[in-house]
Symmetry: C2
Subunit: 527 residues, 2 copies
């Protein structure tokens, strides 16, 4: 028990001791760069926070239905227009209006829960049913780290470093889009290189951008090859997903809808996430922005359910507000939290799993970054979210990816995982501990008693990036602020990183495919 009663600074001793426990196993798996909790996507057992009354839910539903019935959505995709016509919707030019009965009937076809199985079946995810899944930041064009100290363009190597973090952290459950845009790679073949990196550096569920038929088909083929699956086996169950955004207000563009249609026809999953920034491309009122978002999302999900009944669909929320001072998007605000919770209520009303985000407006991994991201992540939890995009690494409203922020966010994510450990709120006789209270009485302490000895290795959360030493010990150890510590953790992870096991034949097939598609010129770049 020396670690508890002794000096306030003995990480090495404590680490050796704990390496016998569950955290130690996890540390060994990741090359001991970090001591963390095991892979175990949390199950959200909290009752959601529901700011809307039943009447409020009905009002937003009615508003969204009237948008679809009276105003309509633009679909800049000829195939979608033909499908809507076939379904009996009113198509005028690119405008589609649809009745609430039809929308409701279609949306009801979507499963409340489904699985996603990547090349490593141990990383299979359940979407819906209270499972809480976290993914890396996706799509920032720029990178910032503490060593460079500036905002610089993303590169393939930086992108790969973020894949290494994605793989190393057990609290990151899926690989989102490019964690930073590798602008050093030619656009025509960029997707081939990045997906090769993603599928070899991680064994977690992968994402395809819906940026044109060739890219979508290439990524599906690469996910299939990486897992060594037949075409039939690939299509038999969801292996991957795409995430699309509507072009708010009231518009879906060609490639996004095209990509979704391609995925659902091969049994894969889609997420539809309108980006409704209140006061800019959505009403200035949060209920209005949510109403618009719901209408846009349901219009696409109804289409997909018409085409492939029962295909796995997730409804996304990305409703926030603009900064009245600068016009820039704000994130992690009170409005953002409430919009996320309200959309969670609507998602449950429609029986759809929800996607939300970790996000912030901060430009560097400072206090603001963490209070905004904490707000965003906890509101995702409170909303009953299934899929949390951008859960680690996001800065500057999504324009910057930062490895320090990634590490810091993972501390919060792992705390959320621990928060849902039922042991924390168990109330059996051993938990109430009356005998221990009697044994210690009014003058002893609980350090050395058997009740503590039996439980102390797993009793409390063990942090990754937090430093809990007192000021003096912390100062003696270098006096590092959390971003500096996170930088060190990032470097340790990438420097000691070992890619997850992969069948050499599968890897070779993947590399051959990339080489062939590169020789063919890749994908068109006219998007």
């Amino acid at each position: 028990m020396g670690g508890m009663t002794g000096t306030r600074d003995m990480p090495d001793t404590a680490r050796r001791r704990r390496s016998g426990g569950h955290a130690g196993n996890a540390a060994r798996r990741t090359g001991a760069a970090i001591d963390q909790m095991p892979w175990a996507p949390p199950l959200n057992t909290d009752r959601p926070t529901e700011p809307l009354t039943d009447e409020g839910v009905a009002a937003i539903h009615d508003g969204a239905m009237r948008v679809l019935e009276e105003i309509g959505i633009e679909f800049l995709n000829h195939e979608a227009l033909a499908l809507f016509r076939q379904a009996g919707c009113t198509v005028e030019g690119t405008n589609v209006r649809m009745g609430r009965e039809w929308v409701t009937e279609m949306v009801a076809r979507a499963p409340r829960t489904f699985t996603l199985t990547p090349r490593n079946p141990e990383r299979r995810l359940t979407v819906g049913d209270g499972h809480l899944l976290f993914g890396n930041v996706s799509s920032p064009p720029s990178w910032w780290d503490l060593e460079i100290g500036r905002k610089v363009p993303g590169t393939r190597e930086k992108c790969a470093d973020l894949f290494r973090l994605t793989q190393a952290f057990n609290c990151i459950h899926f690989a989102g889009g490019y964690p930073v845009e590798p602008v050093d790679l030619p656009p025509a073949t960029r997707h081939l290189d990045v997906l090769f990196d993603k599928l070899t550096l991680t064994d977690k569920v992968a994402h395809a951008y819906s940026l044109g038929p060739e890219r979508v088909e290439d990524v599906m083929e690469m996910v299939r090859l990486a897992a060594g699956l037949s075409h039939d086996d690939f299509a038999a169950t969801p292996r991957m997903y795409t995430n699309i955004n509507s072009t708010s207000p009231l518009k879906h563009d060609y490639p996004m809808i095209d990509g979704c249609l391609r995925l659902i026809r091969r049994g894969q999953a889609v997420i539809v996430t309108p980006f409704t920034l209140a006061g800019a491309m959505a009403p200035v009122t949060m209920a209005g922005a949510v109403t618009l978002s719901i209408a846009e999302a349901l219009s696409a999900i109804a289409l997909f359910q018409w085409v492939v009944p029962g295909c796995p669909c997730v409804i996304g929320t990305f409703t926030s507000n603009v900064d009245m001072k600068s016009g820039a998007p704000a994130f992690g605000t009170p409005e953002y939290m409430r919009a996320t919770q309200m959309t969670g209520q609507m998602a449950r009303f429609y029986g759809l799993p929800l996607r939300a985000s970790g996000s912030c407006a901060a430009n560097v991994p400072d206090g603001q970054a963490m209070w905004e991201t904490s707000n965003a992540l906890w509101s995702a939890v409170q909303a009953g979210t299934s899929f949390v995009y951008h859960a680690a690494g996001w800065l500057e409203g999504g324009l910057i990816a930062s490895p320090e922020k990634f590490v810091m966010d993972c501390e919060v994510l792992q705390m959320i995982q621990r928060y849902f450990d039922p042991a924390l709120t168990a109330t059996g006789p051993g938990d109430i501990a009356l005998d221990a209270i009697r044994e210690v009485g009014s003058s002893g302490h609980y350090f050395g008693i058997q009740h503590t000895q039996d439980r102390y290795e797993t009793a409390f959360y063990q942090p990754i990036a937090s430093d809990w030493r007192n000021f003096e010990a912390w100062q003696t150890a270098g006096g590092m602020w959390s971003a500096e510590r996170a930088h060190g953790i990032y470097r340790r992870i990438v420097d000691s990183f070992e890619p997850p096991p992969m069948d050499p034949g599968h890897r070779e097939a993947l590399a051959d495919f990339v080489a062939r598609r590169k020789a063919e010129g890749g994908a068109p770049t006219d998007f």
Copy 2:
């Protein structure tokens, strides 16, 4: 609408425009050092997060009652022992055992809600009934700020600066204990000087430490004089409060109980907050630590209700866990959050208002400080807390007060205030905004339309310390991290601070009292 559509960096213009609104009025009141939301303690309308089942609540209640019935609590206060004897409890030496029927009957006498009225009646607080009240950090011996860059002892001037922040921020509703211990003041008269500063620099509800009869009586007298009240008027309704900690495990010391008895006999309020650190002075299990905390708190509250039936009492939680690496207390952990929520359930079971805290283990106002404090504050919200102690300014497990942290925390507190603005989740026709959605259609934007114009001044949260500009604008403006910005805000507030209005006669009476008591030698220092 130029502020929304134009350049991304126009704080002056935006500030001028907004100064016509509610925020501007607030800014004028505080000398324009900060632009903030008005004084309006939030009403928590969220359903609490309740990790315990009814059986779990019953198990903790039964555990706590068995502690009181079978094990007993030590009361190192002869008057309390006599009172317990009079009430029919079993007193053996300093050990007091009490039956659950008596405890339940006594605790049921406590009001579910009461008010606290400071010298400025506009600052009257309602405790309970969903009102969410925030107070400054209390009792750290040390100070840290970005300019000094070191941990230094507290002084009267630093303490006064924190009172200035306490007064300046509308989201701080009450003045807790000394926001930093002024160790440059002699212990015998320290309370006289600090209370003089508190009662002249702020007009918010004040606190008395229960550190001996003389100090408690002095503070009550000073609160009375500062408000210009007769003795009867002072006692007619709660004007102030004390907060006591049990000496866990299972012990209440002399001065704490003495102070409470003095306050309740003059109609003032008490908060009983056991400091049950799981694995140290409480069981390693969270339910066990909560059980111990409940038993300790109820034993004192039952006593107070025996003495003064219906006296205003708050039950406090300060249950956290130790760091297994260093033995230091950890704060804002998943265990801390769950303990706070569980105690909230127990407080509602007993019909008592709850006190919780904003807290962290971080040593500097960095990312860790904010993810830990965010966890603590949001769990206080989720627990249905009435009184949030240490809500602003706390570092290093309560050993350091920091003005930067104070400012940063106030951003989170003001966001919580805004989060509970019903406008955010309103769903009337104007909120659903169908007409606006129709007007803008699929190709316009919402910047310029009437629906936005009518609402944009108050539509969104306006931050105090957050910088929402993009990276380039932020960099051009100095590239300051949030702690640096907070330092500047702190300096602006204290440099332009004007004390709240005070009747000159009341102030003179207060000064005379301090002078007289100093001449008498103050209070004994043998505590």
